[in-house]
Symmetry: C2
Subunit: 129 residues, 2 copies
DNA sequence: GGCTTATTCAACCAAACGGTTGACGATGAC
DNA sequence: GTCATCGTCAACCGTTTGGTTGAATAAGCC
């Protein structure tokens, strides 16, 4: 998994892990307490937490015998920024010919939402290929 | 995969699929043209497109012999909304004791509507599990 | 009809995932 | 020291994933 987005999205793709993140949204928690509401072994939760930690979504700090888990929303924000590159533009409902026509007829600036429509190209959100 | 977020995040967890989405951001494309820049068989790209389609991130319309792929940003927006539930709050830098103090000092019932304090609990973003 | 192109299907493969169980090192309590 | 608790590690298991190849379906071209 070369890209950081790989690990973040992969971590988010599991409902157990999303539920864990939701729990940590309220409070920092010990591993055992995280595992408590789940019908699953402690080892499984420990693995889920390791995946979340590797993705940077949480951090874990061992204080005494207890390991505390804390939400780290920065990694999530990074992924959110990537996604908003797709969300913040006028959806393309045109096929190739209609797009060609629109380009020919309309003014290039057309500020429908203030931003240029459909030019997310320069940001290249995917990065790797 | 019960939750829709599962399929969306799982689809986004692959760099090839993210690159495909970035390509479709510029233009609707045929399957063969999507596959062209990748060092991968056409069947593999077809599978990736099926995954993206199943997640609702793209739609595919067969016109004649060619199947056109179109970006569908709505599914992405849904996931983005979920993520922003974690991003849009003051990050929790407090340990248990500090949190205890904050809870003791602040009003217990603070309805936290629209403001900080990170209670995404009412929305229950994780859904299952 | 027959060739070519576009796309998927089916079978297969290695690797990763998500879970279990049991053993184990650390740490705190008595 | 002894015991219980916290959490991870290691081995295992079944399923899923991401890729391959080759055959098959579908549509346009000549």
């Amino acid at each position: 998994m070369s890209d950081a987005l790989d690990t973040v999205f992969a971590a988010l793709a599991d409902p157990t892990r999303r539920a864990i993140l939701a729990m940590l949204l309220e409070d920092d928690m010990a591993v055992t307490d995280v595992a408590d509401p789940f019908d699953m072994s402690l080892a499984a939760i420990s693995k889920h937490l390791a995946i979340l930690s590797r993705a940077g979504l949480i951090s874990q700090e061992k204080r005494g015998r207890v390991k505390w888990c804390k939400l780290e929303p920065d990694a999530l924000r990074e992924a959110s920024v990537w996604m908003q590159g797709f969300g913040q533009f006028e959806p393309v409902h045109l096929d190739a010919f209609e797009r060609f026509l629109a380009q020919e007829l309309s003014v290039p600036d057309t500020p429908d939402t203030g931003t240029e429509s459909g030019t997310g190209t320069d940001t290249d959100p995917a990065g790797s290929a």
